[in-house]
Amino acid sequence: MTPTTLPTPRMIPDSLRQKIESYVPRYPNKKAVTLPALHMVHSHFRCVPYQAMKEIAEILEITPAEVADTMSFYGFFPQAPLGDVRVWICRSISCMLRGGDELLEHACKNLNIEPGQTTADGKLTVEFAECLGICDHAPAALSDDGRVFGPLDESSLQKMLDDLRKGPIPLEEL
């Protein structure tokens, strides 16, 4: 399909589109690029709007419903835009045994939000997680720029939240 057949205005910029297309040779078929494409669109917009799903479908020659099927299955892709930083506080077994559930509650209360919501200033989204794979830090948290926090207690949690509100760090600094 040629770019001219896409509905206007297009949402996915050319540079991102080319990046998505550059993944096509990695796989035997285009559909397999769905997850990478969703990730790329997500990091660009910090959400995957319906229009973007339509455009991914066009690039990959599948239907928008197939993109939605895949996307909605996974926990990673939010429907609503996120805060500048997204942080997951783990509630699975090792973290729970060390107070993970309480920390999540504490953080949300502190920020006056529910798990899954974004602070009023748009700086921070707090979500629960089912095991982050960083149980050596339990009770642990992970921000979407890759920073790992833990073992947390109430005071280090507060420090973490303050740090996170300063904004994301670039990947190179990880």
């Binding site: 997850l35 990959l60 509630r91 077994i93 960083i134 149980c135 050596d136 990880l174």
Partner: protein
């Protein structure tokens, strides 16, 4: 027994090991060079078979045997490396990728050579942001140094490795769920047969191996099958990365020969139970496995012995310790919440069963439990999973096992909890109670209209 010398983790204290030069200078990529230039693929398969290496991902299936299931006349093969590592309390694969990526890449290279796969996809869970960054860097360096790409070491063998990020779904650690996810679909496991070796990714013969499994392979090629079998217990050979977390003083990942005991792990590596308390129980290998009571802490943590305790298996060797103050109901609440959240929703028993079990356990925990709930949960748990044959994959077994196991091992505690924790607000609605007891939900003086009969009976029965 000679003193155990770590191999998988030997470079973990060397931050320079991330560079290909450093890894090469420590003897790295010698095994892959040896395999590709002096051995045939079948010889590598035979060697791994002889080592009796068993998959480190959870099921413990013999790796060499898995490789030998590939059809002889295949034209194209895919390697999928399972780094979804989503079993709660497990993080050994992350260590392997973050702390020694080239060892892992070398493992992939040999594994792909043995199985004649010229494309490998490393499926890593999205949470491993740093690991993905390190791995992609390492792949680029390995490629530049001639360990990947076309005609590697002049052997005629080509290999490309691609990282594929997951997106937050436990089920994608199941091998066919992983394949579906790789193909751009929801991670719904496939029916078997056909097994991936016959028809896997993109409908081609496919091998799915765990990161740790592949990381063992260079060492087997380098030191031989006998060396590998000199460690461990019967049918469970070689080194294993154990992780210890939960209510212990030190949460660590440590390499030991297979067959270490829980007591050893807690005392020698975990720094003992935290807060000076005693242990109550431990999960031997991820929450799907059930609990070891403290009386079972001397059972070797290997593929065989652990099953005799009523646990599902060794799983991922992720040991989680529960101290004496931890309530079994809280543990069950946690596991059932996890599986209700992670059930893919494909098979009826798991989709509906995990949600049902979670709701029931939550009600009990809130103080609305009934003793008969334990029997009901036991019945549900006994009828879901691959073991009774009612689901496609093992997620339901993992969801059911902690419940069956806890009811078998801790029923008195659970019953006591139900009796002592009564919160009227949490109890089930009287109408539900009446229906489930086979009584009429209506007040006793109400007449019921029965179609075809008329006003037939009073709802007193």
């Amino acid at each position: 027994m000679p003193k155990f010398e770590p191999v998988l983790s030997r470079n973990w204290n060397d931050p320079e090991i991330l560079s290909v030069k450093r890894y090469e200078s420590k003897g790295g990529y010698a095994a892959s060079r040896k395999a590709l230039t002096t051995m045939s693929p079948d010889q590598v398969v035979d060697l791994v078979k002889a080592s009796e290496l068993r998959g480190r991902g959870g099921a413990g299936f013999p790796t060499g045997l898995k490789w030998s299931f590939l059809p002889k006349d295949r034209k194209e093969t895919f390697m999928c490396v399972n780094g979804d590592e989503s079993e709660p309390a497990t993080f050994n694969n992350r260590y392997l990728v973050e702390k020694d990526p080239h060892q892992f890449i070398e493992g992939i290279l040999i594994g792909c050579f043995a199985t004649r796969a010229s494309t490998a996809y490393v499926y890593l869970r999205f949470e491993y942001i740093k690991a993905i960054k390190i791995l992609e860097q390492a792949i680029a360096e390995a490629r530049a140094a001639g360990h990947l790409g076309k005609n590697i070491y002049g052997s005629g063998f080509d290999l490309e490795i691609w990282c594929h990020r997951g997106a937050g779904a436990y089920i994608c650690g199941e091998e066919t769920g992983l394949i579906e996810s790789l193909e751009g679909k929801r991670g719904w496991p496939r029916i078997k047969p056909p097994f991936p070796a016959i028809e896997g990714a993109f409908r081609k013969p496919t091998v799915v191996n765990n990161i740790e499994t592949l990381a063992c392979v260079p060492h087997i090629v380098e030191r031989g099958a006998d060396w590998f079998k000199s460690m461990g217990t019967p049918k469970s050979y070689g080194p294993k990365l154990y992780t210890i977390s939960g209510q212990v003083n030190k949460q660590v990942c440590v390499e030991l020969p297979l067959g270490v005991t829980t007591n050893q792990l807690i005392e020698e590596h975990g720094g003992g139970v935290w807060k000076g308390r005693k242990a109550k129980a431990a999960i031997p290998g991820g929450i799907s496995m059930g609990l070891l009571t403290k009386d079972e802490f001397d059972v070797p943590l290997d593929f065989e012995e652990i099953r005799k305790t009523g646990c599902l298996g060794l799983g991922t060797a992720a040991v989680t310790v529960l101290d004496e103050t931890t309530r079994i109901i809280d543990y069950l609440y946690n596991t059932s919440r996890f599986f209700a959240h992670e059930s893919c929703g494909q098979c009826t028993p798991c989709r509906e069963g995990t949600g049902w079990l979670y709701k029931t356990i939550k009600r009990i925990r809130d103080g609305g439990g009934r003793i008969e709930d334990l029997d009901l949960m036991n019945h549900l748990a006994n009828n879901m999973g691959i073991t009774p044959g009612t689901t496609i994959c093992g997620l339901a077994d993992g969801a059911a096992w902690p419940i069956k196991n806890a009811i078998a091992k801790y029923r008195p505690e659970l019953e006591q909890f139900i009796r002592e924790n009564v919160n009227p607000a949490a109890r089930i609605a009287p109408v539900q109670e009446a229906i489930s007891a086979g009584r009429s939900p209506l007040p006793s003086n109400t007449s019921m209209f029965v179609p075809g009969i008329g006003i037939a009976k009073s709802a007193t029965s």
